[in-house]
Symmetry: D2
Subunit: 398 residues, 4 copies
């Protein structure tokens, strides 16, 4: 018993320290932004930075402070409605596409809100916490870590709408970079494999669980990720004009949106450039491809004579692959694992409700929080989405 109590105290301290670190990193991400940059919602799928700052805070206030901290004074009762994202069961929420219209509270007030809630959590942590609260605190931290990456991708799409190609930071560019360029293949034998997060993995999200067995066939995954030069070869070979390479929904998407190159690319005279967080950069053929949709990834793999990995193949081989520079589109639809159960309580809407029409991405990007970089992690997006730091790994049957 004693030991368990000690472990719990340790966990408590570790969580608080991690809480402070996470909260401070979110603010740091926004540091290069002007007040104005915090505001606009330029596409329906990307939220304003101000909204991320407030919503991650709202999670701690709504899920922990309001139910569990008895002497906590709510910062502003209207925020409960303003900064709810998608938790339909908690009450009314601002329509997603109208988030950019809300100018009040202002940016400074949102930063005050953060401090107020930070103080509330720190004060709460002065006393022993129940397991429920510890679990929620852990979830809130991981929730904010997830939002940090979204915040980065969302502020990039917002900055990109300024015709001046503004520089966020001269030394930050999550969409560039190289790997070893070892184009060899890693193989796997036929058989039953276990994938998914074990029950004791506290960090794992509900959608990574339970660990379970799958039957795999002989396959090989390329060690390196696809590079810009390879993708340019696809483009120059008419990849965007050849219907036989594309999924039917992908072909429609490409035509409807007149897509002919990765997101953020633009041609000036005869040269390709890409908008990055460090401003406009020439497309370097040796750098890793970034900002493609699942449709493009699938068409590229088809053109190259390969296919995309399925997520179980990826997870079974991950320990031996070079990964972490891109979110890698897999050929697996985002569906629950066998035995998956929705969590009970307010966090029941966390992952399960998105399990349709989306594809799984595996790996991580340079913008991913360290602790989310693990081989069981399941990221997911609709197949037309490209504003994440997404790339391509090739696979083939053996």
């Amino acid at each position: 018993m004693l030991e368990e109590a000690s472990l719990k105290t340790l966990h408590h301290q570790e969580l608080l320290s991690r809480f402070k670190e996470v909260r401070s990193r979110t603010a740091a991400i926004c540091h290069p932004l002007s007040t104005e940059d915090h505001l606009p919602q330029v596409v329906f799928y990307a939220s304003p930075p101000k909204w991320h700052l407030a919503h991650t805070t709202w999670f701690f206030e709504e899920m922990i402070l309001k139910p569990y901290a008895h002497d906590y004074r709510e910062f502003d009762s209207r925020f409960s409605y303003y900064f709810n994202s998608y938790y339909n069961s908690i009450g009314k929420r601002t329509k997603r596409e109208e988030r950019g219209s809300i100018t009040r509270p202002g940016v400074n007030e949102v930063y005050d809100y953060r401090i107020h809630v930070d103080n509330g959590i720190e004060k709460l942590c002065e006393h022993p916490l129940s397991d429920d609260v510890l679990d929620l605190l852990s979830l809130g931290i991981r929730h904010e870590e997830q939002h940090q990456e979204l915040l980065i991708t969302d502020l990039k799409v917002a900055l990109s709408c300024n015709p001046s190609h503004p520089v966020y930071a001269t030394d930050v560019d999550y969409a560039g970079g190289y790997d070893s360029q070892d184009d060899g293949w890693k193989t796997i034998n036929e058989g039953v494999y276990t994938i998914g997060a074990a029950a004791e993995m506290k960090e794992a999200f509900d959608n990574e669980q339970p660990a379970h067995r799958v039957y795999l066939y002989p396959a090989a995954l390329r060690k390196s990720l696809v590079r810009n030069a390879e993708y340019l070869a696809f483009m120059e070979d008419g990849g965007y004009e050849r219907p036989e390479l594309w999924l039917d929904d992908g072909w429609s998407w490409k035509n409807d949106h007149q897509v002919s190159h990765p997101m953020y690319w633009m041609k000036q005279e005869d040269d390709w450039f890409r908008y990055s967080l460090s401003g406009l950069q020439p497309v370097d053929g040796n750098e890793l491809l970034c900002h493609v949709s699942y449709y493009e990834a699938d068409a590229f793999a088809h053109w190259a004579g390969y296919r995309l990995p399925i997520e179980a193949e990826w997870e079974a081989m991950a320990a031996e692959l070079e990964w972490g520079k891109r979110w890698e589109w897999t050929g697996s639809a985002y569906r629950p694992y066998p035995g998956f159960r929705l969590p009970s309580g307010p966090t029941s809407e966390y992952n399960g409700k998105f399990m349709v029409n989306q594809m799984v991405l595996r790996g991580a990007s340079p913008a991913t929080a360290q602790r989310h970089s693990r081989i069981t992690y399941r990221n997911f997006f609709h197949p037309e989405m490209r504003w994440q730091f997404s790339g391509i790994r090739l696979a083939k049957d053996q």
Copy 2:
């Protein structure tokens, strides 16, 4: 050698006989329609009957007669363009949503086209056929069998737009009917199972192949399908107003289209009716539910405390279930089987290009051609689609 030749002749004769039967059934399906009923395209996803009549014919002309019947005289060179459906590699095609605007050729001319091509095929069959031609003939027959069911569902949606609720035939109603109402459960043990069509199954489509092993967990499937009374209980319990029961994309779909009941249902005073091919019918609580989307099926299962089967569970147990009255939504996204290969040649676009954003349905409906009613058959539609004869089977983990 002799034996093989004999087998081939037998196959040849059998195919010809099946060809005649299929061709004549398609025309019979359209018999109750007026000339006018053959024409309109009332929703983007349902083609006019005239178009089905012509397109199934086009397949035989374009894939078999033009390349293989050397003395064949093309009926009308423009039809190649008019009645191509989705074969992007074959050339330009009429935009899907504009098929209802084409009044010429007229309905009678399309029937003449059918006879012309029927004669062409019969004449070709007077001589020995290569394996390639036999395979294409078989595919063309199965293609038309698939279109027969689409034709029925498409003409239903077209007739339903007439405010008079027209009767197609007094004795035809594929969306009614009962099963045994045995609500017991059929269970399956954990282990490795083989599903998919064996290579020697000539009837199978590319997407059912190859046969392959999957690892399944203990589960149970309800023997009977969901009945109208059960679905009415969901509706009366506020099923359409409770976000926690719905997938996020489903909740948006429901709101955007103001859906509050299965397709074709309407309330008159206090009673529910449904439009059927035999006209307006009262909703009978004991009849099998029909015309629901995947989103509704998933929400209903959630409400009932169960889930939908995945396709491997369904196939592994199918021999012991009562099925064939409804296309049953599964919880499996439509993706290729391990080792799946696209066919080569003009039929390469047949199935593979649709393998994204769609869910698999298993089973069959009363409108399904007999030979397509098999346990390996994979039907698939986007999750919001409801005009097929779709229903719900419940499943649970054991």
Copy 3:
């Protein structure tokens, strides 16, 4: 008294004879159409021929037979709803854009409906008619005459959707033709003029009344209408790419719909052709321009250094102009004349409710019923519409 009764009888006989002639002409216009051609609604603003056939009949049944012919037996009570066009006060009506989905009643049944109502009117006319009925009969005839021109323009747009460029009749082409090509100008002096239809003009519609005085300034109208060669010069001079020539709403319309030539024109190799009711025809520079929108007419006039006439100028000079080959866009918005009053009763919705956002066209086309070809007639369409037989006359200040 006696004399007045005689006049009335004469009027009665004349109306009946005109009724028969009009009814028979409508059917004759549809004679070259196949059953199928009667059905589709290919654009929201053009109704199916079947609908015109039925709706003009509905007017006589609903406005005259049902209220005034006591022994009249309604043909089908559902038609009252099906074939109401826009008379909101009479009850529910089929949504305009869904008219093409109604296959039942069929085309033959609609022709039977016509005969049934024709018989009803003829039987009613065997007895003396009240002034109210005579007025409604006259209005019904003129209503059908208006629909005849719409029927012709609507069937043209429907036939044009067939990729085969079908021929309606080899000798019918309302969009071709020449005038004298006298490019001189007719002038008018400053002063007060009277325009509009005098109260005793029974044929006139409510919107042409009352006759009233307007103050005009010195102006000149070109005697001839604009020819294709002149419009080609505008096109070749970059007319569609020069924003300074266009009204702001016109520039948006042009860009949104990618308009770069008159409706029905298409370029094949280096030559311009136009789809006409006699099939595809080369564009003849000397023929009168047809099928342009108000926006195009205004931009052309601007480019040419002139302006469009206002309707009062046109009417004041019409007796001395050559007109009747095209509906001529004027620079006058369609608004009520001073002293205009809405008619009472069911015909109150006839014209007044359209008096916003539309521009007046004066003149007539070769498809206009003889009796509608008069100098006080006010035709009107939204400025982006081009499927009428519309053309351009130039004007200038003196």
Copy 4:
């Protein structure tokens, strides 16, 4: 000659003084706004305050300083593109609906831009100015005065999107207020009247010219404007549900946008409130109605048994009416006066290109710049627009 030079100097001094006053008032209007409030574009037709601040400045830089001030140093060469509004002939411009996405330059930089240009103009004014420059300076001032009212209406619609109903200023509410409530009628006799701005009226815009004669019929205009209580009676009498009261395009607009009350009104329990610049206010029956569209104004007048005035009637009687509290919808389409000529040069796009699909409003609002409050002034908007301070005056034939 001496005298003329003196007059010019006087004019020069007066313009400079007015320039300073106008520039300072624009900034004062924005004073109560937070940085964030300057940014969003919440509806396509309302521009962000930041954009108004910059665009009015751009006009002086682009039209005067760059061509005429030889030692002027451009503030930022990119602004020429960013802040062009609709002057197609001057070059590329930001798409109107994307103005809210531009966060850089920021708000402070835009205020710096204003000071830079103000200094430029003041320096230019140290020397004698040509007539051309004086005219452009006068136009720039009037242009900014027009934008001041748009700025106010645009910031109101932006603030209204905040669910907190923010207060812009406690003592500012342009949409409230009373008139004398004298519901008597002012009459006019039949005859020829002169309206429009005389050539020597330097303040007048091109669209108010030339002065010209019109023929009017006996009519009467109500002295007072329509009050909220009168409009509530229309609403309670089913005004929004009775199609016979509405123009056809208005009925569609009302249904498509589910309009059932004036803009900014909302019902809480049984009471009506309206959002105003001083926050949420109860609807006071005696206050003047505000924020209605032309369609609503026309339907209301129809319901009341009257009509809207035409602009010539209004102008001919204006001296004897009480006006200036609302922009009054007239029944006149916005078209050029006889003899109207487009200005030459860069200001040619000022007014003429909008002369289609819009209706004229006469009068002024409390937000109108003093000098724009004149009887010849022609304001104009599309008939569905309601975010201006628009109201209703009734008229009738005598």
